[in-house]
């Protein structure tokens, strides 16, 4: 275990988040099914299980689109950060919805015969060359397995246990999304009556791609790039650029890792920019109740020693600072986790 396991626990905000989420899911599915039943009746009725399969699948796909947009949105406008706060519940809910779709498909299309339904999903292939004869179910199954791994390891326990592997594991969401596009494009979209599906996929890809591109181009994490010269101290700049109780992020020799905060008007503290919880960008956090507070899930660290206030036990690396006039200098050599060092006081006047 890389460090102690501290789950982000339940609280009323999360409950509100989940309630809103599930109301939207219920609205979508109930209305999908009712409208289908209203427009397609008797001899034209679409099979109930197929309707459910479609309601859950499109709901899931739209949810995944939202999930993938939260990251760049929060980057573009901090007001979206609260969506990120409970994104994992969104993710697990999405997995459940997608699982229902996959299970219905396996039950309805692959069962009631002579072969094992799962074997049928894998072998009912057809050829990879032929459009309209493409094993699109296999792509759905693979992506479902990826989402399963992510949902199963979404708890903070796994985050703490797996360390950096966790982050890589959860980047599987992108290949998973790509597999789904193939699943839909080579499956349902090959029918002559594709309805609104191509538009749904187009809008999704445009939103996800566009927001990622836009945030990467115009809203990359603001951070001050400095180069370390021969001497150990690097110049960071004037302290007045840091607002009280806020931080800046400093990139030393290209690696982003130091957050410098000003608090109590006249105190400066440099700590690692990487939150112990899920690598949240601490430099974009705020000092609340005397503690540096992560913008993602609110883990806190004391500026004096980089330790979470008791009873918590998280520790981050700290750095030494010095002031010459109004100019801050940083020693980019990290001190061991949770090392206290002298608080740098601003003595000059504004």
């Amino acid at each position: 275990m890389s460090h102690t396991f501290v789950p982000v626990s339940w609280n009323p905000r999360k409950r509100v988040y989940d309630v809103c989420l599930w109301i939207c899911i219920a609205l979508y599915i109930v209305l999908y099914v009712s409208v289908t039943n209203m427009f397609f009746q008797q001899e034209d009725a679409i099979s109930t299980l197929i309707v459910l399969m479609r309601a859950f699948s499109t709901c899931g796909f739209i949810m995944l689109t939202f999930i993938l947009c939260i990251g760049p949105l929060a980057r573009i406008d901090q007001r979206f950060l609260p969506l990120l706060y409970n994104r994992r519940h969104f993710g697990v809910s999405f997995f459940l919805i997608a699982l229902i779709h996959g299970a219905l498909a396996i039950f309805w299309y692959h069962s009631f015969g002579d072969i094992n339904p799962i074997v049928s999903v894998v072998t009912s292939g057809g050829s990879y060359g032929g459009v309209g004869d493409f094993p699109f179910q296999l792509f759905g199954l693979l992506s479902l397995l990826m989402f399963f791994v992510m949902a199963a390891t979404s708890h903070d326990y796994w985050n703490a246990t797996l360390g950096p592997l966790w982050k890589s594991l959860h980047l599987l969401v992108y290949p998973g999304y790509a597999l789904l596009i193939i699943h839909i494009g080579m499956g349902a979209m090959q029918e002559s009556n594709t309805g609104i599906l191509p538009y749904m996929v187009f809008i999704s890809v445009t939103l996800v791609g566009g927001l990622h591109l836009y945030s990467a181009l115009f809203h990359s994490r603001q951070s001050l790039a400095v180069e370390q010269e021969a001497s150990s101290w690097v110049e960071v700049g004037n302290w007045q650029q840091i607002e009280n109780d806020r931080g800046i992020t400093v990139t030393v020799n290209g690696a982003e890792r130091v957050a410098i905060f000003r608090y109590d008007e006249c105190k400066l503290s440099a700590v690692s920019n990487v939150c112990r919880h899920q690598n949240g960008p601490l430099g974009e956090g705020k000092v609340i109740d005397g503690c540096i507070t992560c913008p993602w899930h609110g883990f806190q660290y004391r500026p004096e020693d980089g330790r979470s206030p008791p009873p918590f036990t998280e520790k981050i690396e700290t750095f030494k600072l010095k002031l010459e006039g109004n100019v801050i200098y940083l020693d980019p050599k990290p001190l061991p986790l949770g090392t206290p060092r002298e608080v740098t006081m601003i003595t000059t006047t504004h």
């Binding site: 289908t36 397609f40 099979s47 009631f112 002579d114 499956g187 002559s192 507070t293 899930h297």
Partner: protein, 257 residues
């Protein structure tokens, strides 16, 4: 500037700042409305593959002459018009052929109980689970037996060439809507492997869909061999044969197999 005090800062376990609440309340309402509209409009854009029906509410019982052609078929006199005969395909429950029940009673006068599957001029019967086929105690009208025997004998209509989609007749005729096409391929495959009669769906020049039951050139079932071709558009040559009011396309070994 981004990390500014003017921007509200949200911490999950603290109350949400007022400014953020003002941002989120309309946003959440908007997303709720969009979810509702999205569900409705995506649902409305679907298309039905009907009209077709699978009447599962109660069983019906038909009497007639049972044949294996090679698929189990019940030939009977149309109850509404004694001058007409009807040929009803029989299939088992699930994705299985009715051969198991039907073969021992071939060429006999039987009563069959099941759930009707109806599409256009086609009627199929999905056998009920419990004792679905009986030999009838006695034939009420011996003349019917000979009429049906005659009408069900096979008549060659000559060589033809058709292009169309290979489907499983059970789903297409009404068990599933839609019961053909790419999304249905896997299911059709399971059905054909289970011996459900294979069917070629051909779009006629009149815009109507025609179904031809597919068999080997010797008249035996070709379902299993065609399973991996399900949902594919194919071009087939063969001999067209009529038995009762069903049309069969007997395909040569070189065709699609």
């Amino acid at each position: 500037m981004k990390n500014s005090d003017k921007a509200p800062f949200f911490v999950g376990y603290l109350d949400m700042p007022k400014q953020l609440k003002r941002f989120y309340i309309p946003l959440v309402i908007l997303v709720g409305v969009l979810s509702a509209l999205g569900g409705m409009s995506i649902a409305k854009q679907q298309q039905s593959d009907g009209p077709a029906e699978w009447q599962t509410s109660s069983t019906v019982t038909y009497h007639g002459l049972l044949k294996m052609e090679p698929y189990p078929v019940l030939h009977r006199i149309n109850p509404d018009n004694a001058n007409e005969t009807e040929s009803i395909l029989l299939v088992n429950q699930g994705k299985f052929s009715a051969e198991h029940y039907a073969a021992p009673l071939e060429d006999q006068w039987v009563s069959v109980t099941g759930y009707p599957i109806i599409r256009g001029g086609w009627t199929m019967l999905e056998l009920a689970s419990d004792q679905p086929i009986h030999t009838a105690a006695k034939i009420e009208e011996p003349s019917e037996f000979s009429i049906l025997g005659q009408s069900s004998s096979s008549v060659s209509l000559g060589a033809v060439s058709f292009s169309g989609e290979i489907a499983d007749s059970k789903c297409f005729l009404g068990v599933m809507n839609p019961g053909k096409g790419t999304v249905h391929k896997a299911c059709a495959e399971v059905c054909l492997l289970g011996g459900i009669p294979a069917m070629l769906l051909v779009l006629g020049e009149d815009g109507l869909k025609y179904g031809y039951l597919l068999t080997h050139s010797d008249g035996s079932s070709v379902s299993k061999e065609l399973a991996n071709q399900a949902a594919k558009q194919v071009e087939v040559n063969g001999e067209l044969v009529k038995k009762g009011d069903l049309l069969y396309l007997q395909i040569g070994e070189s065709e699609v197999l």
